[in-house]
């Protein structure tokens, strides 16, 4: 985001401080131009003069650097940096012509001063002009190309950052709307039957909703916080499924502080309730375990019943979870679904170390 802002402020502003690379290119470029012109002069001039060579060094190497450095400043102040090619190109051509003509005039004058007039004929002036056309044209071409490339990279980087944020936000597991409406419906039934329980359910639902909305923003939360919400969720589902839902959780106190993506365990538990309880007439058990396993934390959510091909929305939730883990941890985290002996197990591993760093950062 900040990268984008910086790019916008470029227009009509002073140029950023010149980098070491910029100066190295300036010096190397114009030094090689000086070498080239000097070689040209000494080859074609039967009796080369030291004062002429000195003037070549000063003008072709020194004045040019001053001019182009000033030109850089001009380009920033007049917004040439962000200009489209169609508008920029005529300006570049005009600038090249003007600068080449100007410096040729300067050289003709200097040579008259040095050799007391007549040292420079029209032919020499033309070739000098041609050489500076190449030099300034080349400078502008290289400068604008490198700059355009850098701007492109900066924008691409900003987009990647944005896309990652947007992606995480999009993937931030929302509550399943189907659950939400069923829940509101049960709640209405509960209001007349048991007002105290209904009121507790409103509180739990509010906490759950707030937490799921927050999950769009926070990248990670401590596992303890996530488990609080899982318990709120379970208390809501108990009201809906009565004795059909049995829930057990065992979380090692050593992992309570480990940072996890919000709604990670919640999504898996919701999935387990859906398949292990809601789809089964006799209901079943949902179990959550979390413990340290080597350099990682292992979380497993088990439900009664074999895995079935995921139905639209739930399959979506799991895919989202896998995608979020991939964005946050790369290959260091994993989520697998397996079924054995009448049970479905969702297992997640998250690196202990890097999740702590992420929470700190």
């Amino acid at each position: 985001m900040s990268v984008l802002l910086k790019m916008k402020t470029i227009v009509g502003q002073d140029p950023p401080p010149a980098t070491r690379t910029y100066w190295l290119c300036q010096i190397a470029g114009w030094a090689s131009f000086v070498v080239w012109v000097t070689a040209f002069y000494t080859v074609y001039e039967p009796f080369p003069r030291w004062d002429v060579i000195a003037s070549i060094v000063v003008i072709d190497g020194g004045v040019t650097i001053l001019i182009t450095h000033a030109l850089r400043r001009w380009m920033y102040r007049h917004g040439w940096i962000a200009m489209r090619l169609a508008r920029l190109l005529p300006r570049l051509v005009a600038t090249t012509l003007a600068l080449a003509a100007g410096i040729t005039g300067l050289i003709v004058l200097t040579s008259r001063l040095i050799s007391g007039g007549g040292g420079y004929d029209g032919n020499a002036a033309f070739w000098t002009f041609a050489a500076f056309l190449w030099a300034f044209g080349g400078w502008l071409l290289i400068y604008t190309t490198v700059h355009a490339r850098r701007r492109h990279d900066a924008r691409a980087f900003a987009l990647t950052l944005n896309a990652r944020d947007a992606q995480l936000q999009l993937l931030g597991a929302q509550l399943n709307p189907h659950f939400l409406f069923n829940c509101l419906n049960s709640l209405r039934g509960l209001i007349s039957e048991n007002p105290d329980r209904a009121s507790a359910m409103v509180t739990s639902l509010s906490d759950l909703l707030r937490y799921s909305l927050r999950s769009d923003r926070a990248h990670t939360v401590p596992l303890a916080e996530e488990m609080t919400i899982v318990n709120e969720y379970i208390s809501i589902e108990r009201a809906r499924f009565d004795e059909r839902l049995r829930f057990e959780s065992s979380v090692d106190s050593a992992v309570l502080g480990v940072a996890v993506p919000p709604m990670l365990v919640q999504t898996l538990v919701e999935n387990a309730v859906k398949h292990g309880i809601a789809d089964r007439a006799d209901g079943g058990v949902v179990r959550v375990r979390a413990e340290v396993s080597g350099p990682r934390m292992a979380i497993s959510v088990t439900n009664t019943g074999l895995m079935r091909p995921p139905m639209n929305e739930n399959g979506h939730g799991l895919r989202n979870t896998i995608e979020r883990l991939r964005i946050l941890y790369g290959d260091e985290a994993s989520l697998t679904l397996t079924d054995a002996s009448g049970q479905t197990v969702a297992s997640v591993t998250i690196p202990l170390e890097s999740s702590r760093e992420r929470a700190a950062g």
Partner: protein, 245 residues
């Protein structure tokens, strides 16, 4: 009217009962908590309307409809968006989204009363339209093709056509493939209405627009939906008797 409430959540059933209480003509004849339960209760009692949840343990509301003999009027109650349900189902009597608004329920009940009065009790209809215990032509059947489902009045189906081991039904622009053989359908439907034109076709005689003679003493029947069905030689004789040509 006799209503069956089908929902796996106790609180949801309780809530629907509470909403129906102000309507004394609605008799809640029973509640069912899952697919098998619902099928059993629909078979046991004469139910006029079923309030059916879509997501249930052991299947969906559609599985219930697919397996019942006699289809009552169906009102889906769903926590989904109504349009999400309409996307894979055509022609349910009504859709109520949960939590249900009392006035929306009242409107649905008004519509139900009208429809039940129009249909009349099954016993009042002409006996000629019945075959053994087969469905009444004014009754509806539930058809399913992949993800799409239809609740359609038998009388509105113009034609069944063989396709492999299954049959394709033609009605009001739809043509789903259904998992019944043509022989099966012929046995279940009223022969005064549905006529086996050939090995391939079972046609609704009420849809016949014209009958033309063809080679070898056979006929070609044109139906109002645009289908043209050739009648086999053996069946042409039956058709002649049937229509007294």
């Amino acid at each position: 009217m006799n209503a069956l409430l089908v929902d796996d959540e106790r609180l949801a059933r309780r809530e629907l009962r509470r909403l129906l209480a102000p309507h004394p003509d609605v008799n809640v004849a029973g509640e069912a908590v899952n697919v098998d339960d619902a099928i059993a209760r629909l078979a046991a009692a004469s139910i006029d309307v079923v309030f059916l949840d879509i997501q249930m343990p052991g299947g969906t509301g559609f599985d219930v409809l697919e397996r019942v003999e006699r289809l009552p009027l169906v009102v889906f109650t769903t926590a989904y968006d109504e349009y999400a349900v309409r996307a894979f189902e055509v022609n349910a009597f009504d859709y109520l989204v949960k939590p249900i608004r009392p006035e929306r329920l009242a409107a649905a009940l008004d519509k139900l009363r009208t429809a039940l009065a129009d249909d009349g009790p099954p016993s009042a209809s002409a006996p000629s339209e019945l075959r053994r215990d087969g469905p009444h032509v004014r009754e509806r059947v539930f058809l399913r093709d992949g993800d799409r489902c239809w609740i359609v009045r038998i009388a509105d189906i113009a034609l069944f056509e063989v396709e492999g081991n299954y049959a394709r039904a033609y009605f009001s622009g739809h043509r789903p493939l259904i998992r019944s053989s043509l022989n099966d359908l012929e046995a279940r439907l009223d022969p005064a209405i549905f006529f086996r034109a050939s090995r391939q076709h079972l046609i609704n005689l009420r849809f016949v627009k014209s009958v033309e003679g063809a080679a070898d003493d056979t006929y070609v029947v044109q139906l109002r939906n645009g289908s043209v069905v050739p009648v086999s030689r053996r069946q042409s004789r039956h058709l002649r008797e049937n229509l007294s040509l």
